[in-house]
């Protein structure tokens, strides 16, 4: 992610007239400025008008637009550099053809003056633009959303497309035919894009750049790893074995010298969670993991362990001919897990509810996130009162997200953040190896909060090897 993006533009003034707008451009990385180029005025008002009319169209279809859900959601568009529609999160992109053209035109006008358009803020809409070699990605939100986060989200969506097509294929197809309609290649994969956008809005792993683990005692986890390793030992070209319990990681075993970044793991989570077919039959699917290698596909053997134990096993290889060998290995793994009662252990762990913040008996603590920075793993307790309803969960996530962004702002050395807000008191702490985010009732004092931190840390330390994957086993 480009961390050098320009400062979030504060445009909170809801009293601005609708025609007011400002544009953020940045020619150089750190240089930021507000732009009011007269030549742009026509295009910008054209854009906002068109957008408003098309978004009203969406509203008529009763898709979220006026609800809190929509307020926190972003509209996402993907188009080719020729201005042809590829994807629209809401509405039918065939009905938004004009809008896509206008967006491309605006970005091009700016580009033509050797500049780059990142954001447009109007009084009630906020646009973010991410231009890639062959594609343009645009997000629109009603709230003045965090600009860095919007760009990060667009990058995630771009990576999902790379994951489906590979960068090589995407580049080649547009080099050959710059009028290409990419929907021809993506048809059937829209569900992956849809669910990945949802992921970026609903899962803290996205802004924490981390994964969540299924709590298991370390001996059980080690035994699972051993069962997998011993069944796969003689298989060449096997890169990774990954065991998932929905969006929680049980174990990952890797070939020596190779690692997966959280954002690539998120793509794997998304592939599994949005494909029902793996539940009924083992799958053999190509997948590109952009941070590992954007140029080509890996081949993934995907299957669930058993009817009773719905953990999903992925065996990732670079060898396309390995299906039967991996299928056999999977059988062996299941047998070994079964023989050692590990299937049962996984099943039970998956049935157990997530931990609750309240079980730690820390006074006035409502919720927290604990992130281990060394392993990029985090703990996120079950939502409890008052975060038991989706609307509140959503604002809690936004709150965490802001905290996380503030602590991780580039070129700052903010370590501790304590804020007494209207409905919560929050504390963010960035310390060696750990990021900690605590949400308290309102009117909590700083000493109380610090006390809570110490208490919580003690509990977590005690359970550390259960809550996190501490070893990094290899084949």
């Amino acid at each position: 992610m480009n961390t050098n993006l320009i400062e979030d533009n504060k445009c909170d003034d809801q009293n601005m007239e609708t025609e007011n707008w400002n544009v953020e451009l940045s020619g150089e990385i750190i240089n930021s400025r507000q732009y009011t180029n007269e030549n742009l005025e026509g295009e910008i008002s054209n854009l906002t008008k068109t957008l408003n009319s098309t978004l009203n169209f969406v509203e008529n279809e009763e898709i979220y637009w006026q609800t809190w859900e929509w307020k926190s959601k972003q509209h996402i568009f993907i188009l080719s550099s020729a201005g042809k529609p590829i994807y629209s999160r809401y509405g039918n992109e065939d009905d938004l053809v004009t809008l896509f053209g206008v967006m491309q035109a605006i970005v091009s006008v700016v580009l033509d003056s050797n500049d780059e358009l990142y954001f447009i803020h109007t009084s009630n809409k906020h646009f973010s633009f991410l231009r890639k070699e062959s594609l343009l990605l645009v997000s629109v939100s009603q709230l003045p959303s965090n600009s860095d986060l919007s760009i990060m989200r667009l990058n995630y969506i771009y990576n999902q497309i790379i994951s489906i097509l590979t960068l090589t294929q995407l580049t080649r197809i547009f080099q050959q035919y710059n009028n290409f309609d990419l929907r021809r290649l993506l048809s059937g994969s829209e569900r992956l894009i849809n669910s990945f956008i949802d992921f970026t809005e609903n899962e803290p792993g996205f802004f924490l750049n981390s994964v969540e683990c299924l709590p298991l005692s370390s001996s059980v986890r080690d035994n699972i790893a051993q069962a997998i390793i011993s069944s796969c030992q003689k298989i060449r070209n096997l890169l990774f074995a990954i065991l998932l319990a929905e969006n929680q990681l049980i174990i990952i075993i890797r070939m020596k010298k190779y690692f997966l970044l959280p954002s690539d793991l998120h793509l794997i989570f998304n592939l599994v969670s949005s494909s029902q077919s793996f539940r009924t039959a083992e799958g053999w699917t190509p997948i590109c993991l952009p941070y590992f290698d954007a140029s080509g596909y890996m081949q993934a053997h995907v299957s669930y362990l058993s009817e009773e134990c719905q953990a999903c096993l992925l065996l990732l290889t670079v060898d396309r001919e390995l299906f039967f060998i991996l299928s056999e290995a999977k059988q062996k793994i299941v047998e070994k897990l079964d023989r050692n009662a590990l299937l049962q252990q996984i099943k039970e762990a998956m049935k157990k509810p997530k931990i609750f913040a309240s079980e730690f008996n820390v006074p006035k603590l409502r919720h927290f996130i604990y992130k281990n920075k060394n392993t990029n793993q985090f703990v996120f307790p079950q939502y409890e009162v008052p975060y038991h309803i989706p609307e509140k969960q959503n604002s809690l996530l936004l709150l965490y997200c802001q905290l996380c962004q503030q602590l991780n702002k580039p070129f700052t050395s903010l370590k501790l953040l304590f804020q007494q807000l209207k409905t919560e008191t929050v504390l963010g702490w960035d310390t060696k190896g750990i990021e900690l985010y605590l949400i308290f009732e309102p009117f909590v004092t700083k000493p109380e909060a610090i006390n809570a931190v110490n208490k919580l840390l003690k509990y977590i330390k005690k359970d550390e090897d259960k809550l996190f994957i501490v070893n990094s086993p290899t084949f």
Partner: protein, 207 residues
Amino acid sequence: MSTKKKVLLKVIILGDSGVGKTSLMNQYVNKKFSGGYKATIGADFLTKDVMVDDRIVTMQIWDTAGQERFQSLGVAFYRGADCCVLVFDVSLPSTFKSLDSWRDEFLVQASPRDPENFPFVVLGNKIDLENRTIQSKRAQQWCQNKNNIPYFETSAKEAINVEQAFQTIAKNALAQESDQDIYNEFPDQIKLPGDNKLNNSDAGCSC
């Protein structure tokens, strides 16, 4: 979204200022003609669905002002066009003479894969006017010399030939688009470079 997508075609309209590009487009899309002339600011977009041989084709029509403003869109205006419509005013010889440079400009900027066979359509507009100076024969001759570009004489004002012209535009563009062969024999597979580490970032997740 269904697997059988509608087809989308990007159509751009070029020609000197005042030859009636916007009027043609309005006539075609909205079936109306406005007599007054208004310089187009930047690019204008209109969309229209047409049926071509049982397929629904959505035309994304990019219209631009005559000489100066479109320059600001640069290559993006032309990039990925499926068809280019060249318009002149039959009563103004200079607009006819410009066709050559519009066509050249398009081919340079859009650099289509097969310039010889790129689908152009030429429209001689304003045939409702009395003072016609470019005769059909001359325009047809020019089109023949450019690898038989289809030629239509239109009147945006009287709605003459507009529908037919755009039908041909859609048909020719569609024929071109269908030629695209996107299926390569083998998808790209990554290779492990022996013992060399891939370009993994140091920030690797050691989980």
